[in-house]
């Protein structure tokens, strides 16, 4: 039993601290090969994935931030456009109001001047008609009066100059009388 333990411990009677050169060589070669595989393939592949993943995550964040910025820019633009449109609308309304007031004023002015014109025309017409009536009345009344007077007096007042004089005198008297009544 003791022999078995000792032999197990010393691996067949040799000192366990003295290495077997072949063992060392194999371990060294194996380690070197493994190291080569790790350096050449394993680490680069894993690091590539790490970098890609980090980039994907950061890229996603950057993309989201960009989208957010774009969205807020668009919102700003729309708000700006809305404000502009409102201002434009107000401006147009103001303009329309001013224009309407102007048109109204023009129309009023035009109507006033038209009515003044019409009334002036009417006055002139009435005046001229009155003049014509006065003239025609004067002749006709003169004629009728002379005719009547000649009939009553029995004297022919055929002389035009004389009759005109008589009539004028009569009318002047009449007008003087009228003026006296009006006063």
């Amino acid at each position: 039993m003791n022999q078995a333990i000792i032999s197990a411990a010393t691996e067949g009677g040799t000192n366990p601290l003295v290495p077997n050169p072949w063992e060392m060589l194999v371990v060294f070669a194996g380690f070197a090969v493994l190291m080569y595989i790790v350096v050449k393939y394993v680490v680069p592949m894993f690091e590539k994935t790490y970098a890609e993943r980090a980039e994907a995550i950061e890229g996603g964040i950057a993309k989201a931030e960009k989208a957010q910025a774009e969205a807020s820019a668009a919102l700003e633009e729309y708000k700006q456009q809305l404000t502009d449109a409102r201002a434009e609308g107000n401006r147009i309304r103001e303009e329309a109001r001013a224009e309407g007031a102007q048109i109204l004023a023009e129309l009023k002015e035009k109507a006033a001047s038209e009515s003044a014109r019409i009334s002036a025309q009417a006055h002139a017409q009435i005046e001229s008609e009155r003049q014509a009536a006065v003239v025609s009345l004067r002749t006709e009344v003169g004629t009728l009066a002379t005719t009547l007077a000649s009939r009553i007096v029995g004297e022919a007042l055929s002389d035009d100059a004389r009759s005109a004089r008589v009539v004028d005198r009569f009318l002047a008297d009449l007008e003087n009388q009228n003026a006296g009544v009006a006063k």
Binding site: I5, T49, E52
Partner: protein, 227 residues
């Protein structure tokens, strides 16, 4: 010795396959590979060495960890039952690789002044230096590779021995005429299973410790001027 070659094949195949079809959203195999890789990369290299230049040493630490891990776990696999590093040769080789590596890094980083930085601690009164400097030389340049290799080798050999002894003990007890002694073999079996579990833990732990110490040595060589 065939087992060493087998371990290279196992590790190489597994990680190359796991890393080959890389996708941003990993599958099961890729996820396992990435977890193992990032354990060494982030859990050891980045945490211990840190800074910007830890990536340079990730391949070495990664290879060390999985090479030792698989070769240790051989000791927990029935029929194989032989951790490679229960022979001292392999442990010497790995410790020597690490020894050369960290001294090389120290010289490359600090020039020959590195040896002064590594052996003469700052802030120590000059009259103590004759005592401290030899201690530093011995502990850093002579004892360090020895403990580094023997720690791995001794734990593996001890675990191997314990399992072998309990196996032999069970066999011995079962051979006895006395029924009680025969029955006592069950107790030994229970103890052997417990030791087997402990050994499995130590196998993983020693792979981790060896890699961790390597990272600490490299970090010490990189930042020798601040120690």
């Amino acid at each position: 010795m065939l087992l060493v070659i087998l371990s290279v094949v196992i590790i190489g195949t597994f990680f190359v396959i796991a890393a080959r079809k890389q996708q941003l959203v990993p599958g099961k195999l890729q996820f396992a590979g990435e977890a193992a890789y990032s354990f060494v990369r982030n859990g050891i290299a980045k945490d211990i060495i840190g800074g910007r230049d830890f990536m340079k040493y990730v391949p070495l630490l990664f290879t060390l960890f999985f090479f030792i891990l698989v070769n240790n776990i051989y000791g927990a696999i029935p029929l194989i039952q032989l951790p490679t590093f229960s022979h001292v040769g392999g442990a010497y080789v790995l410790a020597l690789i690490v020894y050369v590596t960290w001294i090389g890094i120290g010289i490359k980083r600090n020039g020959l002044k590195y040896f002064k930085l590594a052996t003469v601690p700052t802030g120590v009164p000059f009259y103590i230096l004759p005592i401290v400097v030899p201690i530093e030389i011995i502990s850093n340049f002579l004892v360090r590779p020895v403990t580094h290799s023997l720690r791995l080798f001794a734990t593996m050999l001890a675990g191997h021995l314990i399992v072998m002894i309990s196996g032999a003990g069970i066999e011995y007890l079962v051979m006895q005429e006395n029924v009680l002694l025969k029955g006592a073999s069950v107790l030994v079996l229970g103890g052997a299973i417990a030791m087997y579990m402990l050994e499995a833990l130590i196998m993983v732990l020693q792979a981790y410790v060896f890699t961790l110490l390597t990272a600490i040595y490299i970090e010490g060589a990189l930042h020798a001027d601040s120690h």
